[in-house]
Symmetry: C2
Subunit: 387 residues, 2 copies
């Protein structure tokens, strides 16, 4: 299939561009944000797999996490810096079988992989938004996805699925648009970010702000190689440790030194342990593909995540969910402990709605939803057929 | 009692200066460090409580943690920026009863509360060491404490006690000087720092290095109010989150916003949640009393902590321990999980030496050893009398 549609504003035909990044722009139809501001000329980048059936009843929305993008499945290249982040879950004959389902994923609002974000040109002057980009929330991300659903002609998703921040979006979909969500799969996520989660986020934000190259968010004129990559790398290190587990780090790295200064008996202040080199590697990979301001804003959106906000409390907010809900937790997740997914199950079940909790037994920590694909995929396949 | 002895080089009399900070300097008797360098003109700051008996058999060494100092008990003031960090554990009639025991605590080598560290004058030129201060290890800290023990005339401690990094020192004492350690109490600590612990440490180091005010470690000429306090505050935030627990953060802070910008529906990038204000508060307190280079070096010493290094493996290193060992863990400790203290118990018991593990049931995380004093004190009192 050919990519025919960049910055599309016209009608869309089902299956026209499966697996290739496409764009839709909403021009003057501004999106009103939680913060009180509006954003106009919003573009949403998205990809689709499979074919929307004539009843338009087989559409599944997959929502990505912090540094993810629309490229859920497929090789790197052609605008995609990395292979699909859920490769092995989505495709013909896989857990989310694209012979059966029409799968959609869009880059979130505020992102940097095609959807409007802080690196995008401001409509007033064409210069990057930078510090002018407003704070966004998970609900704002969903608002942009609603526009995309309308554009695609999907009145109701068969399911909305997401892990981590993707699960936050899925929850907000089910609460805000119960009529448009057939079922909900929320993995390694929470109904409200906790103080500890916020604390980790705050540390990353401070590190970015401390980087002189961040320049208050207006660094886009910096020469190549400059820019706030050091602050971003530190923020990413914090996340990367919380994404994994003590045991996996020990098994993988132990106490091995990557560098070793023989003159000092292998002891110097900046010699790196293997685990530091691993974190550096992840930081380096991220800074090559991700915009620091997007990282900052999306992280803040997660910290602000609270389905109860403005809805009269948590129980009342969750009582809006009518979609059967599969909540999945990961046994070794230190960032989103399993009590948070069991809470989602309990709150939905409390309203008499079908709700199930499945635990992924894994040593890999939070990231297990991207690693232990068999354990993740099996329950999803079953869920999509039964609900 | 009067403080009579600053920078003492002469003989010391038992009980002469209980509860006041004293100093001993070792002049040209340089300390040889693990890194291969030597340090001369080393001063050690210490305090004592109680009276050393004539048999010199009732001395207990208490070792402090990362940002601690010699001031285990007593009010703030007179060179002590904070009240005793184990106030309520040590004193007349308390868990470590100073009517019975002669208690000693010294500021660690590399510290900033009286013992020689990076802010101390270099003997060559009188200017602060700064970046010239060598990397130190837990074993180096113990080397300085051995000098102090000799100075005090304590050939053998009735017990060596420590929590967190204090426990690392206590372990090194028991391994390196088995004849000088009557019994060992190691709380919330480990025999080898793990990859995850090193990762947290590395993040803090990077944050300090990113601070332009750190100036490679040579910032002591900076005007008042400048200096690398932002980097230190971020490093401290990382530690502070790992010192506590998810549940306690949630109970204490929830998702409350400390600041609230009404114009933005309470949503702005830098508005602080209560938990952020709490972390700021701890960062601010620390930067007023602690030197950034000391924080950096002591943190690195913890990351380098490995009782097995150069000793033919962990089991072989731990087989040197002949002191009966009480290992204490904290149920909610995410930084030094209880498997690490059970491992210490198991390794010591494996050699036929008395070893016991006691778990502190607390929601407070690693810091519980400074908070849940009754649970900490009871087993210590019993241990000191039975071993």
């Amino acid at each position: 299939m050919q990519r025919t549609d960049y910055l599309a504003t016209g009608a869309w035909s089902p299956g026209q561009d499966a697996g290739r990044r496409q764009f839709v722009s909403f021009g003057e139809r501004a999106i009103a944000l939680d913060v009180g501001a509006t954003l106009r000329d919003v573009t949403v980048a998205y990809e689709t797999w499979g074919v929307l059936n004539s009843a338009r009843s087989n559409a599944i929305l997959v929502c990505h996490a912090w540094t993810g993008d629309s490229h859920v499945a497929g090789a790197a290249g052609d605008g995609h810096p990395t292979p699909g982040w859920w490769e092995g879950i989505i495709g013909p004959g896989l857990a989310i079988d694209t012979n059966e389902w029409f799968v959609v994923c869009s880059n979130v609002l505020g992102g940097c992989q095609g959807t409007t974000g802080p690196a995008s040109p401001h409509p007033d002057d064409g210069a990057p938004y930078g510090s002018r980009f407003p704070v966004i929330t998970i609900r704002d991300m969903v608002r942009a996805q609603v526009r995309l659903a309308d554009h695609l002609g999907v009145a109701r998703w068969h399911a909305v699925i997401g892990g981590s921040m993707g699960g936050m979006q899925a929850l907000e979909w089910a609460i805000t648009f119960p009529d448009r969500v057939g079922s909900l799969v929320a993995i390694g996520t929470c109904a409200q970010s906790t103080a500890q989660q916020i604390a980790w986020g705050a540390i990353g934000r401070r590190a970015i702000r401390l980087d002189p190259q961040w320049r208050g968010g207006d660094y886009y004129q910096a020469p190549v190689g400059e820019g706030p990559w050091q602050g971003l790398a530190i923020a990413r290190m914090v996340a990367q440790v919380t994404f994994r587990s003590d045991n996996v780090f020990t098994d993988r790295f132990g106490r091995d030194l990557a560098d070793m200064d023989a003159e000092n008996n292998g002891i110097s202040l900046w010699d790196k342990f293997e685990v530091e080199r691993y974190l550096d590697h992840h930081g380096d990979r991220l800074i090559r593909r991700f915009d620091t301001n997007s990282y900052l804003l999306i992280g803040k959106a997660m910290d602000l995540h609270d389905v109860a906000r403005g809805r009269g409390g948590l129980a009342k907010a969750m009582s809006r969910v009518t979609a059967p809900t599969l909540a999945m937790g990961i046994s070794s997740d230190i960032l989103y402990p399993t009590y948070q997914q069991r809470q989602i199950r309990d709150l939905v079940a409390h309203n008499g709605v079908t709700a199930e909790y499945v635990e992924i037994e894994s040593p890999h920590g939070h990231d297990a939803f991207l690693i232990d694909l068999q354990q993740v995929g099996g329950p999803i396949t079953r869920w999509l057929h039964n609900n």
